[in-house]
């Protein structure tokens, strides 16, 4: 993707890049300095922005394009009693700081209690602000989520947040491109979360470094937008800067009619442009990976990075299964932290908690799929299940369908929207030694609470696990439970 010649067939990522170059980098000593790229949408939240706004203030700089910027409160927000002041004073100061900064710099903010408050990566698509062919950034690594629309979406650090606020541009070194082709059709009970966990297990947590991934193939084409968002969301867990899916009818259908979607003639013109963005026949990727959807089974992680995963029907691996000494040492350490014996069938592992939520899996479709499995059943009495919708809007829509009742009748806790237990910046945390089947994105040591033990799973695996109390596939609970005696 270093040289973009006009006569060469281009990939989706190259086209979006090409359409956003403000100043091309210079070639010097056989290396090229970064291109300056225009940013179409800047998403802001309370955690990675205070130091950026402070930087602007100290330098006397305004926000260049408040009309391309939007903020929401998500990481710190409580999921219970949201009408009361945030209990943790440090969290409260951070949220108050965002409110003051948005007021001062004229930025639109969706605060706790607002129908469009929620996880930043759920809110953008929900409002129709995420559209194909855009550049989207946010001070959050899971910004890759928005790539599901065929936009180039990247997580950035706080210095870059300040840079985008001040200039609406970003200096970026061109990326390489990788095609991740998923052939075939997913079997029942297998979902897009399993695709991405399998991709990460295959290429490793560093396998995508320096690449923009493009997910393609029949299995990806068949996925809904929300399922595509789950895949793109976890591109960062493979080390990639971004993940994308070529925009198609599914994409257009999802965007159409949303508050910020184009209308009338503008809609037709937009769709025409969006159609032109797909990777051309004959375009070359710098690397290619293939996954077979037909044989894919539900996936689950056993270790402390998202690449340490296996099929749910497999067992906890032996460190000696790994040839690479670095991988072996990493497996030994992970097994010790996770308190797992090599050779234990994954399905024998008992969990204490099930978390359904996070920017990976907290959209309406995720809630519907999980609800379908638990409907009319009872949760394992020893398991606690927390359901955290991705946004206040998702919560309202789910309630309109009666999903809240399904979860409550099952014995799960129905919460307000936010990042919640994905990273435990609010009170939703695991206790030391507490084991969790989580639909989130990271199983790092202590991520969900100090000493907490995380197994990453799909929403349907989370639901089946809550019924049986042990890591379970939907097929394990499909047969009707025997009637109580």
């Amino acid at each position: 993707m270093v040289e973009i010649a006009s006569d060469k067939p281009l990939t989706l990522a190259e086209k979006v890049w090409r359409d956003h170059v403000v100043v091309r980098g210079e070639d010097k000593d056989g290396q090229r300095s970064p291109d300056l790229l225009y940013i179409d949408l800047h998403l802001v939240h309370e955690v990675t922005s205070p130091q950026a706004f402070e930087g602007l203030r100290l330098a006397g700089r305004p926000v260049r394009r408040p009309d391309l910027t939007i903020a929401t409160e998500d990481h710190n927000t409580p999921t219970l009693e949201i009408d009361k002041p945030i209990a943790d004073p440090v969290s409260r100061i951070q949220v108050d700081t965002l409110r003051a900064n948005c007021e001062e710099f004229g930025i639109r903010l969706h605060s706790l209690g607002d129908a469009n408050q929620g996880i930043v990566h759920v809110v953008g698509p929900q409002l129709g602000l995420t559209q194909p062919g855009m550049t989207v950034v946010c001070g959050d690594s899971h910004t890759s989520t928005h790539g599901a629309f065929g936009s180039l979406a990247m997580g950035i650090g706080t210095s870059e947040v300040e840079h985008v606020l001040a200039t609406q541009t970003l200096s970026l070194k061109p990326f390489k491109t990788m095609a991740v082709t998923v052939n075939g059709t997913l079997q029942p009970g297998v979902s897009s979360k399993d695709i991405i966990l399998a991709v990460i297990a295959k290429i490793g947590t560093g396998g995508g470094q320096g690449y923009v991934l493009e997910y393609r193939g029949t299995a990806v084409e068949q996925l809904s937008m929300e399922a595509r968002m789950t895949i793109c969301n976890m591109s960062i867990e493979a080390g990639a800067r971004a993940g994308m899916v070529g925009p198609d009818e599914t994409t257009f259908e999802y965007v159409k009619g949303r508050p910020h979607a184009p209308t009338g003639e503008d809609w037709d013109a937009a769709v025409q442009y969006w159609r032109s963005l797909r990777t051309e026949d004959g375009a070359e990727f710098d690397a290619e990976v293939t996954i077979d959807a037909d044989t894919l089974e539900p996936f689950v992680t056993w270790g402390t990075n998202p690449g340490q995963g296996v099929g749910l029907n497999e067992s906890v691996p032996q460190p000696t299964d790994f040839d690479d000494p670095v991988d072996r040492e990493s497996a030994e350490r992970a097994l010790q932290y996770m308190g797992l014996e090599p050779g234990t069938p994954m399905k024998d592992i008992r969990v204490d908690t099930v978390f359904l939520g996070s920017c990976t899996n907290s959209r309406l479709e995720d809630l519907r799929l999980a609800a379908e499995i638990i409907k009319g059943r009872q949760k394992d009495p020893q398991v606690r299940m927390i359901v955290v919708p991705g946004s206040a809007q998702v919560r309202l829509e789910a309630e309109a369908e009666g999903l809240d009742r399904v979860f409550k009748d099952f014995g799960a806790e129905w919460r307000f929207a936010g990042c919640s237990m994905c990273l435990g910046m609010n009170p939703d945390q695991l206790a030391p030694g507490e084991r969790c089947a989580s639909t989130s994105n990271r199983n790092f040591e202590g991520r969900q609470g100090k000493g907490g033990l995380t197994h990453l799973v799909s929403p349907v695996v989370a639901a089946a696990t809550a019924i049986r109390g042990t890591l379970s596939a939907p097929s394990d609970v499909l047969l009707p439970e025997p009637a109580p005696a």
Binding site: R108, H163, E445
Partner: protein, 199 residues
Amino acid sequence: MEPIITHTGTGVPLKQSNVDTDQIIPAVFLKRITKTGFEDALFYAWRKNPDFVLNQEAYKGATVLVAGPDFGTGSSREHAVWALKDYGFKVVISSRFADIFYGNSAKQGLVAAKVAQPDVELIWKELEKDPTTEITVNLESRTVRCGSVDTSFDLDNYTRWRLMEGLDDISLTLRQDEAIGAYEAARLRLKPKTLPAKV
């Protein structure tokens, strides 16, 4: 940002791969609204273990962190870089860095030097044999010296230039104000705007 041409200091061998940013600084410390004062938060969970390498007296005062592959994976939190700097690290050496961490380091003047894993292992041996061994990292020649190890490291020209000059990115970009304005004037009218709000 202070220019860096060369740095000499003692090192800490952190013999682990996939050191993610949640380990470098747990999320609970991200609630602050300042850019400094994160030194105690660095490797917070691991530092509770008295055997952890940073707790060993011999490695006190070190300024070069020598880690396993895939350093800085996961979250985009720049707090990871602030915490490393606040603790006193000037350089991190690893064979592979996560992209966002690598970018964040360059913005803050923390040198992230990519050294091949076999050489990283040789440096670990030197540091374990004698923790007082000094490491010299030279950006001009892109070399790392530590005891008997004398090797080169990978750093692109642009990042190296910015580090050596101590340049601030925003000022550099604002020199392109005219080009940004020209791009905006020609930009697709159809692109969405957040204001006025539609819900």
